[in-house]
Symmetry: C2
Subunit: 255 residues, 2 copies
């Protein structure tokens, strides 16, 4: 997809089909998304003018306008007025941050069973730990090390500990160097921030629990530094399952 905006060689032509039903603007959004996923509309391409799109899809211009507003809200297209070369509605490259944000919100609001979310985290973070052990430079690992050290402060309250904990898992995902895996990992970990804090609040002996969590993080970091990918993956899995099974508030979301 990094070649998305270059082109040159032959490619699929957009094949616009008329929209048959009501809620016309949603169907216009569908048609535009189809063209993007089919590779017929790429980053930097202009959408057809509103009038033409309305006529090809057999909908009102109001429906086209509403669809474009929706896609703008998603950051998929941007519009500019005027008549110059750059004017009109253009397909924009989405930022990695936009993906993380949407995915985080979706995981927070979709009723995924908690077991499914935990298994997905285990899969993602095992992969991050193995990749980080193989690929990361000492400089890439520096943020993980600083966070492990920062978590040693006995004066940290649970909220602040949770903040560093979240950032540790984000730093591990980033050290792995795979942007798509990192975005998914970060989104899922951040969507669980509230759950994890509820888990911390439910711990009967926070001093003991936080000592275990510190040791887990340090273990993962040291395995990654020692380039022992399989061990790092096993330790991060053990850590995630520990939090889920041993902190009652984690399951209920009530600390």
């Amino acid at each position: 997809m990094n070649e998305a905006s270059t082109g040159g060689a032959p490619r699929a032509e957009p094949a616009w089909r008329p929209v048959p039903r009501s809620r016309a603007y949603e169907l216009v959004v569908d048609r535009i998304e189809e063209q993007i996923v089919a590779g017929a509309l790429r980053v930097g391409d202009h959408l057809p003018p509103e009038r033409e799109l309305a006529s090809w899809l057999e909908v009102s211009r109001a429906a086209v306008r509403e669809a474009i507003r929706t896609l703008e809200a998603h950051g998929v297209v941007s519009s500019s007025v005027g008549s110059g070369k750059g004017a009109g509605t253009v397909v924009t490259a989405l930022t990695s941050g936009a993906l993380t944000r949407m995915l985080r919100l979706h995981v927070a609001l979709t009723s995924f069973p908690m077991d499914d979310v935990i298994e997905a985290r285990v899969m993602l973070e095992r992969t991050s730990a193995s990749l980080a052990a193989r690929e990361a430079s000492p400089e890439d690992l520096e943020p993980m090390r600083s966070l492990v050290d920062a978590m040693d402060d006995p004066a940290l309250d649970r909220e602040r500990f949770n903040e560093f904990d979240t950032r540790f898992h984000v730093a591990l995902a980033e050290a792995a160097g795979n942007r798509l895996v990192a975005d998914m990992t970060i989104a899922i970990r951040e969507s669980m921030r509230h759950r994890v804090l509820a888990g911390f609040r439910s711990a009967p002996d926070w001093a003991a629990t936080s000592a275990v969590l510190r040791a887990h993080h340090r273990g993962v970091m040291e395995a990654v530094e020692a380039r022992r990918g399989e061990l790092a993956a096993d330790l991060v899995e053990e850590h995630i399952r520990y939090a889920y099974t041993s902190l009652p508030g984690f399951r209920t979301g009530e600390g």
Copy 2:
């Protein structure tokens, strides 16, 4: 998160802070998202009235209105007019389909390096194959088997073959029974539909290539049916890497 709409026990109260900068509506969106990810606003909760929200966040009512329109476009809230009990703006449960759709579009439009996307697919589909071998009932596996059989038709053209191929990988993800992993797998596989077709078009000997792909799919299916999760995971990884390395059009997106 499946308990998201139940509640009852004590929980975090929304803590609304004033918005400091311009592009006020985007910052209103941020504030609302913060409350959702923090667990202070849940599915079924009402947003504060427009007037109050504007006053607490120190923005105009127009900015609040624009923010709510944006969140409606994302399917995060829904509004209804009137003065009854259900009136106002309510946080809605996002559907699994909405996540798949957004993620598919993001993967298609974000400039992730192709290697990152391939590694993410390998991770997701290895997990799906292992889970399916462990969890799926014979009925769950039926769609995979039908698709493998359907792909044996020698009259299939490349477009149609690609359609069945996409559906095979979707069926594998669904047989695994983890909705979040399945949604991510489906989104990434579907976002690559165009690439895969370009790969097929670039194959110098389609009859030979499609025979290999058929054998790969059949191998994965049989390993899953034999409950050999590790073998199924290895075979699906080999299959994904084969398509990427042996079909030149797959890398360039031009078939």
